[in-house]
Amino acid sequence: MSANDRSSAKEQNSSASQAVSYFRVDGASCASCVNKIESALLAVPGVEQASMNLVQGTATVSGHAQASAVVRAIDAAGYTAEHLVNQSDQQILEDKDRSEEAYYQRLMKEVYFALGLGVPLMIYGLFIGEMTVNTPLERFLWLLVGLATLAVMYFSGRHFYVGAWKSFINHSANMDTLIALGTGTAWLYSMFVVSFPALLPDMARHVYFEATAMIIGLVNLGLALEVRARGKTSEAIKRLIGLQPKLARIVRDGQEIDIAIEDVQLGDQLRVRPGEKLAVDGRVLEGSSSIDESMLTGEPIPVTKQVGDELAAGSINKTGTLLYEATRVGKDTALAQIIEMVKRAQNSKPPIGRLADVISAYFVPAIMIIAVLSALAWLNFGPEPSLAFAMVCATTVLIIACPCALGLATPMSVMVGVGKAAESGVLIRNGEALQAASKLTTMVLDKTGTVTKGQPQVTHIELVNASDEDHVLMLAASLESGSEHPLAQAIVASAQARGLATQTLENFEAIAGHGVRGTVAEHSLLFGNERLMREQGVLIEPQLDLAQQLAAKAQTPMYFSIDGELAAIIAVADPIKDDSVAAIKRLKENGLRVVMLTGDNRATAQAVAKQVGIDEVFAEVLPKQKAEKIAELQAQGEIVGMTGDGINDAPALALANVGFAIGTGTDVAIESADITLMRGSLHGLADAIAVSKATLGNIKQNLFGAFVYNAAGVPIAAGVLYPFLGVLLSPIIAGGAMALSSLTVVTNANRLRLFNVREG
């Protein structure tokens, strides 16, 4: 079978596995089109069922037909079709950009038309003449203006009225409702003045057509600018999605072919050259290269990858050419999961936004009630012409109130903040975690793998009742081969380095927080800490001094006994991460109490803590006690963040106010914690806290601004200042203020994009 045959066979396979697919069909507008399209679809080989939904403009096809054949059939029937499923995130994004741009252009046209009428009218009213109806000529001219305004309402403002009506019949109300009511009231009143001037006192014969046109223009302008600004809030996710290349170079039968990334399957072999992006997650089969994972993990230094190493989709191959095998594809790649998580988190709300949510649920009807009340107040107590005053104030109240500013305040900032964090390799699970992280008072750090590299090495072997170091190490390694503890792996690695072959292990038992026991070559072996030896009655007292000396040098002494007798003390040290000291300093500068938590012995733990500048240490803590320590701190009134590797520390991470899982590269289990640090550095922790503080600050500014704006704007619009200062707000100013208020919120949120995460 040639490569081409195989690839087309595979295409068929992938279509076959997709039993139902959807197509967008444009141009279908009548019931007869449905029949025509459906019969065209059924004629395609492999189509078993087909149905066309006219309302949605989509066709649903089941069977084994190729998507391209279906599209051709619909095209041949005289319509245009597009395959909807299996669209990559990138295509969806491009579509979105296109439709946003079209929406923007349309809004701008509406703006020009509305302001084209509104601005000259406003200038006339302000500087040239009176906008009153006193003579028949004025009546006629204002009637023409009224009709022109109606055209503006139809062409530029139709969406407000349709939206308001549709919401109304659904028993809901939104911004459209307010704009439609406000502009509608102003126009109807003005038309009433033009039609029946005699029914009104002289002073009340004022028309407000300019207000209707200006408000429609300004609010549309606000919407258009908001569309632009909102696009920027999702830049981070766009960048992440942009990391995914569209094509992958796959190697089959010695030939390299470029295929769409969606078609790469598990086990496929792929080639990547210097400067190219990795298409899917995989494992290196051939070659070595340095890989830039900074876009994913925030780790600026490229990582060297060799045969057997894991690769992540979206990272950039810098120097060598690699052949690798796909291990995770499609939605399973680390990149896809990161994108998914960021998307989800970007729309979750921190608790601080809940009050605004409650308010916005009642906001619009409440504003309508206030508008009616203010009109009644003016009619009852206002000076003449009270009807005109009542109308102007009610309109201004409706227009100035801005549910958008309130509703946008929290989500816009979260959107930008979560994206910003993701850019520096910090994945925030949801808004709650974001808010909690900004309030932390204590940070608990696990030692191994968090403060230290988590790759301990054997540094010292002190034989006690034995003479053959290799034999002792071989037995120890045989025993430890059963354990997954990092310290155990250090022993095994050390034996391997000496070329010692391990022997069969029997009766293995791990004693959590103490050590391990088992039988090797008929010797009963024990390996573990002081506590284990004491419990098992092994004599260690003569060696305690040595053990303490080792511990003081930040090495972990472990005891190894053969047949109940101490054979050796093996010391293991875990080097401290290069930037732990600087990162811990940053945490402390942020006012956090930093505590180290470890199962390691007290002396070693204190030695490590001293090196990195931590004053408080909880040592010799059993895994199950870690959560208790967190609870103790919380009982002291602390808001506790816990940082660990996400697996061994799961209960403590869960109990902490914010659990941080620290990973190395893209291996980290993304789902395991409130906040995931993609790179191993503790700087990620300080970054996460800095971003959450900045985001929460931004949300507070937005909420404060939106509350104050509405709380001050609505009463002023209702005319509360009039009795004291004699001022009233013009509905046009209200329209401008309203358009500006939500734009301000979005712009302020965008300011977060400029926030510099890394100070250290």
């Binding site: 959807y22 967008r24 939904n53 309302v55 949605q56 403009g57 989509t58 909807l84 969806i92 579509d95 979105k96 439709s99 946003e100 079209a102 929406y103 349309r106 969406h159 349709v162 939206g163 308001a164 009506w165 549709k166 919401s167 109304f168 659904n170 028993h171 809901s172 109300a173 939104n174 911004m175 459209d176 919407l223 908001e226 569309v227 909102r230 998307k343 989800r344 970007q346 729309n347 979750s348 709300k349 949510d357 916005s360 649920a361 009642y362 009807p365 309508m368 009630i369 009616v372 009340l373 009644l376 009619l379 009852n380 549910p403 958008c404 309130l406 509703g407 946008l408 989500p411 949801n430």
Partner: protein
């Protein structure tokens, strides 16, 4: 003047009743067939009934271009989906316990309610 005031108060009473007190009917019909239209500032239908304890797929079709309509959020389920314009989007919901699960746009202007009940 009395009449004007009475009319005003009546309007307020109507607003309270229409927007806050009125409870709409729920759309219980086969959810599989149902397409929730996102258009003109609302979800249509906005009251959806589904049985408890079963995974459900809701299909949304967004024709509303306003950026407000772009995101669909189920706050109680920690779930959000971006709705593309002019295409149907399936949203998979896990089996749910009986209760009300509101869904909204990002700023809660578009509102719907998923009513999960024991069948």
């Amino acid at each position: 003047m009395l009449i004007v005031n009475l009319i005003g108060l009546l309007v307020i009473a109507l607003i309270v009743w229409w927007f806050w007190l009125y409870k709409g009917e729920t759309q219980a019909a086969a959810v599989d067939e149902l397409v929730i239209q996102v258009a003109n500032g609302s979800y249509q239908p906005s009251q959806i009934a589904v049985p408890a304890g079963q995974a459900t797929t809701l299909r949304f079709f967004r024709s509303d271009e306003s950026p407000c309509a772009a995101w669909l959020i189920f706050p109680d389920l920690d779930l959000s989906e971006e709705l593309p314009i002019g295409e149907s989007k399936s949203v998979l919901l896990p089996p749910l316990a009986a209760g009300n699960y509101p869904f909204t746009c990002q700023m809660q202007m578009y509102r719907g309610n998923l009513v999960v009940s024991e069948s």
